[in-house]
C-alpha cells in the first residue's frame, strides 16, 4: 500500500477521508466525555453555591454564585465528620483484610498448578453472584449475637468478603506478570523461597497490588446496603446519607453526593494504567 502507487487525486481524497475520520472520531470521543463529565460539573456547582441557590429557579449553569456555604453546612452537620472518618477506617480495614487474605491466594493461583485449581477459580468467580442483601441480613442477625453489630469491624468483615474474590483474581493477574525466573534466580543465589518472594516478586508486584487496594477502597467507600443494615450509630458516609435521604434538605444531599464522588476522580487516575486489563488480568 505504498503511497507512490496511488494516483495523486485519489491520494488527496484519501487524505480528506482520513481528516473526516479524525474529526468524527474526536467528535464522538468528546461527546461521550461530556456525557460523563457534565453531570459531575453540575453537582459540583450545586455543592459549591449558597444554600438558597438550591431552591432557585432557573439555576445558574456557571459557577457565578460560588460559595462554600453548602459544603461547610454539610461538613458541619452532626455525624458527617464521624461518618467520613468511619468510612475511611472501614475502607482501610477492608484493604488490609482483603489483601492479607487474597494476595497469597492470588500468588498461589499464578504460580502453581495443583488439583482443584480450576474449581477454586470458578468458586471464587461465582461467589460474586450472591446479592449483598442475602449476606447482609443474616450477618446482621449473627453480629447482634456476637456483639459486632453497629461496630466498624463488622462492616470491615463484610466489605472484605465482597472484595476478596476480586482481589484474588487481580493479584493472580499481577503475579502472573512478574517473571517466575527472577524469583528462581534469587533462590539459586541463596535466598529462601520467602526471601525471594519478599525481595523480588513483591516489589515488582507492588503497583498492581496498589491498584487492587484502590479498588478495595472504592468498593468499600461506595457500599451502601450492608453498611446501612449493619450499623445504627456508627454510620459510614453512604449509610448516613441514605438513612437521612427522607429528612435531609436538598443542599445537604447535593453536598453529600459531591463529597462521595471526590475520591473517584483521584482513584481512577491512579489506576488508569490498569484500566485496559482490569477485567481480564494476565491474559
Amino acid at each position: 500500500m505504498s503511497a507512490a502507487a496511488t494516483p495523486a487525486p485519489q491520494r488527496k481524497s484519501q487524505r480528506r477521508g482520513v481528516l473526516v475520520d479524525r474529526i468524527l472520531l474526536y467528535g464522538v470521543a468528546v461527546l461521550l466525555a461530556l456525557w460523563t463529565l457534565v453531570p459531575i460539573y453540575l453537582i459540583a456547582i450545586a455543592a459549591f453555591s449558597e444554600k438558597v441557590a438550591v431552591f432557585e429557579y432557573p439555576k445558574a449553569l456557571l459557577p457565578t454564585r460560588f460559595s462554600t456555604e453548602t459544603m461547610e453546612f454539610f461538613v458541619g452537620s452532626s455525624g458527617v465528620i464521624t461518618s467520613v472518618k468511619n468510612s475511611v477506617i472501614v475502607a482501610l480495614g477492608t484493604i488490609v483484610v482483603a489483601l492479607a487474605l487474597g494476595a497469597p491466594a492470588g500468588y498461589a493461583l499464578s504460580r502453581f498448578r495443583f488439583p482443584g485449581r480450576d474449581a477454586f477459580q470458578l468458586a471464587v468467580l461465582s461467589s460474586k453472584m450472591f446479592p449483598i442483601a442475602i449476606l447482609a441480613i443474616p450477618l446482621a442477625v449473627t453480629f447482634i449475637d456476637l456483639g459486632l453489630y453497629d461496630k466498624l469491624i463488622g462492616v470491615i468483615i463484610i466489605h472484605s468478603a465482597m472484595v476478596l474474590p476480586f482481589v484474588i483474581i487481580v493479584t493472580a493477574g499481577v503475579f502472573a506478570t512478574v517473571s517466575r525466573e527472577l524469583e528462581e534466580a534469587a533462590q539459586t543465589l541463596g535466598t529462601s523461597r520467602l526471601g525471594a518472594f519478599m525481595r523480588v516478586a513483591l516489589p515488582l508486584a507492588l503497583p498492581g497490588l496498589a491498584a487492587a487496594a484502590i479498588f478495595a477502597f472504592v468498593t468499600s467507600w461506595n457500599e451502601v446496603f450492608a453498611a446501612t443494615i449493619l450499623t445504627l450509630r456508627e454510620r459510614t458516609l453512604p449509610a448516613l446519607v441514605v438513612a437521612s435521604l427522607n429528612q435531609s434538605p436538598l443542599y445537604f444531599k447535593f453536598a453529600g453526593g459531591f463529597f462521595l464522588i471526590i475520591p473517584s476522580l483521584f482513584f481512577i487516575w491512579f489506576m488508569r494504567k490498569y484500566l485496559f486489563n482490569l477485567w481480564g488480568p494476565g491474559r
Binding site: 438550591v54 439555576k59 453472584m129 446479592p131 441480613i137 446482621a140 476478596l164 443494615i229 464522588i261 481480564g280
Partner: protein, 299 residues
C-alpha cells in the same frame, strides 16, 4: 530431598512436603473466609426465611412477599430497567471501548474520563441526577432556557411514573456504562490487531468491520457484560431511593425496608432469598442460551 524421598514420613509431614501443600496453604485463608462469610450467611438466610418468630418452620414469609403489591411491581420495574438500560449501556460502552482501543492520540485521557463512574456509587449517581431531574433542577433550567418547554416538568413525581423510570434509566446508564466498557475493552485486547488490519486491507468500511468482525469475536465479553449487568439489576437500590423514594419499588429496597423499618429479619431474608432465586434463574437461563462453559462466561 532426593535422598530422603524414599523414607516414609509421618502423615502431617508428608502433606507438608507434597507439591500441593504450599498452594493449598496459601489458599486456605481465603477459602475459610469466603465459606464463613458467603456460603454460611446464604444458608442462614434461607433458613431464616422459612422460620416463624417462634422458630417453627413456615412458608408464611414467602407468602407475605408474593402477596405484597410491591412484589409484582418490583419485578416489573426490574424487568423494565433491564430492557431499557442494557441496550443503552452496551451501545455507549461499545462506542467507548472501540474508540479507546483504536489508541488514537490522547486516548489515555478519554479512557480516564470514561472510567470515572466506575468509582462512583449508585447513591452518589442518584443524587447527581436528582440535581438534574429535580423540579428546580438543571434539565428544566436548560429546556426552558432553550424555549423547549413552557413550565418546569416534575420528572420525579408519582404522577409521571414513566418519567421517573426514564430518570432512573439515565442515571443507571450513566453510572454503570463504565464497568461494561472495561469488560469490553478487556475483550478487545484479546482480538489480534491483524484482524482489524486485514479487514482494512480488504477495504471493509469501518462500520462493516465493526459489525462483522469485532462483534462476533467480542461475544464472550458481551455475554459476561450482560450477565453482570443483569445480576446487579436485581440489586438496584440507592439510585432508585435517591431519585424516586418508595414510588418505584425494587426488590432490594423491600428487603431493606423489611429489615430496617419493619424490624423483621425473616421477612427480609425471604425478599433476599427471592433476589437470589431471580439471579440464579437468569444466570442459568443465560448459560443455556449462550451454550458456553461457565468458566468462559465468568470472565
Amino acid at each position: 530431598m532426593a535422598v530422603r524421598a524414599g523414607r516414609a514420613l509421618p502423615f502431617p509431614a508428608r502433606i507438608a512436603r507434597s507439591d500441593a501443600a504450599l498452594p493449598l496453604g496459601l489458599l486456605a485463608p481465603s477459602i475459610i473466609y469466603l465459606t464463613l462469610l458467603i456460603l454460611v450467611p446464604v444458608a442462614q438466610a434461607l433458613f431464616l426465611s422459612i422460620q416463624t418468630e417462634q422458630g417453627t418452620f413456615t412458608l408464611e414469609n414467602y407468602q407475605r412477599v408474593t402477596n405484597d403489591a410491591a412484589f409484582v411491581d418490583s419485578l416489573f420495574n426490574t424487568a423494565k430497567l433491564l430492557v431499557l438500560i442494557v441496550p443503552i449501556q452496551l451501545t455507549l460502552a461499545l462506542a467507548m471501548a472501540l474508540l479507546i482501543n483504536s489508541r488514537f492520540p490522547g486516548h489515555g485521557i478519554f479512557l480516564y474520563i470514561y472510567a470515572i463512574p466506575l468509582a462512583i456509587s449508585d447513591l452518589a449517581a442518584g443524587i447527581v441526577w436528582l440535581s438534574i431531574f429535580g423540579d428546580t433542577g438543571y434539565l428544566n433550567t436548560i429546556l426552558q432556557g432553550l424555549g423547549l418547554i413552557k413550565d418546569p416538568i416534575s420528572y420525579l413525581s408519582y404522577e409521571n411514573l414513566h418519567l421517573v423510570l426514564m430518570a432512573i434509566v439515565v442515571a443507571e446508564s450513566w453510572r454503570a456504562t463504565a464497568i461494561v466498557m472495561v469488560i469490553l475493552l478487556a475483550g478487545l485486547q484479546l482480538i489480534p490487531r491483524d484482524y482489524f488490519e486485514a479487514a482494512e486491507l480488504f477495504g471493509a468500511s469501518r462500520w462493516r468491520r465493526t459489525i462483522q468482525i469485532v462483534l462476533p469475536l467480542l461475544r464472550p465479553s458481551l455475554q459476561s457484560a450482560l450477565i453482570i449487568r443483569t445480576i446487579f439489576a436485581f440489586q438496584t437500590f440507592a439510585v432508585v431511593l435517591a431519585l424516586a423514594g418508595r414510588q418505584f419499588p425494587v426488590l432490594a429496597y423491600e428487603a431493606y425496608d423489611a429489615y430496617a423499618n419493619l424490624f423483621n429479619p425473616r421477612l427480609a431474608a425471604a425478599w433476599a432469598g427471592l433476589i437470589l432465586l431471580m439471579t440464579l434463574t437468569v444466570v442459568v437461563f443465560y448459560l443455556r442460551v449462550f451454550k458456553v462453559s461457565e468458566a468462559e462466561t465468568a470472565r
